[in-house]
């Protein structure tokens, strides 16, 4: 069975994004765990906070919401969010690529679906709804 060109590309981009994101997630976690880079909240203090609802946790730790964590880089606890962002951006990159392929095939319904999906993902990622 022959795969379509855009399915091959989607699979390739998905594999790259998943590997990169997963590697970043795990590497940054061990950096945090073994205190290789100073964290914002040391893991030894976390048991005091992890049972709190997120609102109380944010108030108690002064942790940031939205993209505020970027300003706290390279603190090792927020370094982990780089991996999360790579995982989250993978589908966005895949859809951006799909638009080109579907437009080349003049498959306008699927171009519209791609644009709508990108708009939804970009809105969620931007944090403007939060």
């Amino acid at each position: 069975m022959k795969l379509e060109r855009h399915e091959k590309a989607y699979a390739r981009w998905l594999a790259i994004g998943a590997r990169l994101g997963f590697a970043a997630l795990v590497a940054s976690f061990f950096i945090y765990l073994f205190d290789l880079i100073p964290p914002g909240i040391p893991p030894t203090e976390l048991p005091r906070y992890w049972g709190l609802p997120v609102g109380q946790y944010l108030a108690a730790t002064h942790a940031s919401t939205g993209w505020g964590w970027v300003a706290r880089l390279p603190q090792s606890d927020v370094l982990n969010f780089v991996g999360v962002v790579i995982l989250g951006a993978t589908s966005i990159a895949c859809y951006a690529r799909l638009i080109v392929d579907y437009a080349a095939e003049r498959d306008w319904i699927y171009v519209a679906i791609c644009i709508a999906q990108l708009a939804v993902l970009a809105t969620a990622a931007s944090g403007i709804l939060n």
Partner: protein
């Protein structure tokens, strides 16, 4: 909820790893995602708040779906064309669900989680012997979107043609599944597959693969909301992702030795216990 001072801080991620390793084994043998077991069990029996457990549950499901996606597509076991419109409906629902879940009081959320988990157990019980009722002709929407194709059926060594019907109902179902998945961090495999097979008439094997692909997009949407709301704790989600992924690999090896139906009964029992525990927490017991 357990007292976090019962163990030194470093023992909790290790315990989490051990628990999720077992969940990964059971989940892969039973053919469901890890998120649906992870959230009620970890929130019910370990000292982490439900907000962070739901965020971790979504990342767990997302990592699994992203890892499996490429090989499912390359093997022809998932249809990107079918996944795209369903994922669009599902991801809008997932974002709405994530906001709804983060705005709800913890007690109400625990109570609702208990009800949903018990309903999932009932759904698994009701569909345990459900056969395939394949769609023969596409409905108008499926025809317009070109939702048909072929996939390799390795067990018969043949190429099987597929299409779907009841597409509008399928889209609505995925939107609802998205809301529930985003609200409780449950992933969506537990509902995607029955929606694709029983409602839309897709062959089971293709439904499992396509469900994984839609999950990678739906969970991405909700995961962004949890990240932006500050509801992710690396000490919770990284050991869990590692545990479930390694457990799933181990589970694949055990697949030959344990019958899927037996694993399904184990999962139903675990869901009943976890759902009951969540209900009790919701009632403050």
């Amino acid at each position: 909820m357990l007292d976090p001072t019962l163990l030194p801080w470093w023992a909790w991620p290790l315990l989490l790893f051990a628990v999720t390793f077992l969940l990964g084994i059971v989940a892969v043998i039973g053919g469901i995602g890890g998120g649906v077991l992870f959230v009620p069990i970890v929130a019910g029996f370990l000292p982490f708040h439900l907000d962070f457990v739901r965020g971790a549950g979504l990342l767990l499901a997302l990592s699994g779906a992203l890892s499996a996606g490429p090989s499912l597509l390359r093997g022809g076991l998932a249809s990107l064309r079918l996944a795209m419109p369903l994922a669009l409906a599902g991801s809008i629902g997932a974002i709405a669900g994530a906001f709804l879940g983060l705005a709800m009081p913890t007690r109400v959320l625990q109570l609702s989680l208990g009800i949903v988990v018990l309903a999932i157990a009932a759904l698994m019980w009701a569909t345990r012997h459900a056969g395939e009722t394949l769609a023969r002709t596409p409905d108008r929407w499926a025809a317009a979107l070109g939702l048909s194709g072929r996939y390799p059926e390795a067990s018969q060594g043949t190429i099987v043609a597929w299409t779907v019907h009841r597409t509008p109902a399928g889209l609505a179902a995925f939107a609802v599944i998205g809301v529930i998945g985003g609200m409780f961090g449950l992933g969506a495999g537990w509902a995607n597959v029955p929606a694709l097979t029983l409602l839309m008439g897709l062959p089971l094997k293709l439904a499992v693969g396509t469900s994984g692909l839609t999950m990678s997009i739906m969970n991405t949407s909700a995961a962004w909301v949890y990240l932006n709301e500050g509801a992710l704790l690396p000490i919770l989600h990284v050991p869990s992702i590692l545990g479930v992924m390694l457990g799933a690999r181990f589970g694949v090896r055990m697949l030959k030795r344990i019958e899927a139906q037996t694993a399904r009964y184990i999962i139903i029992a675990v869901l009943l216990i976890a759902g009951g525990r969540s209900l009790l927490q919701g009632f403050g017991i």
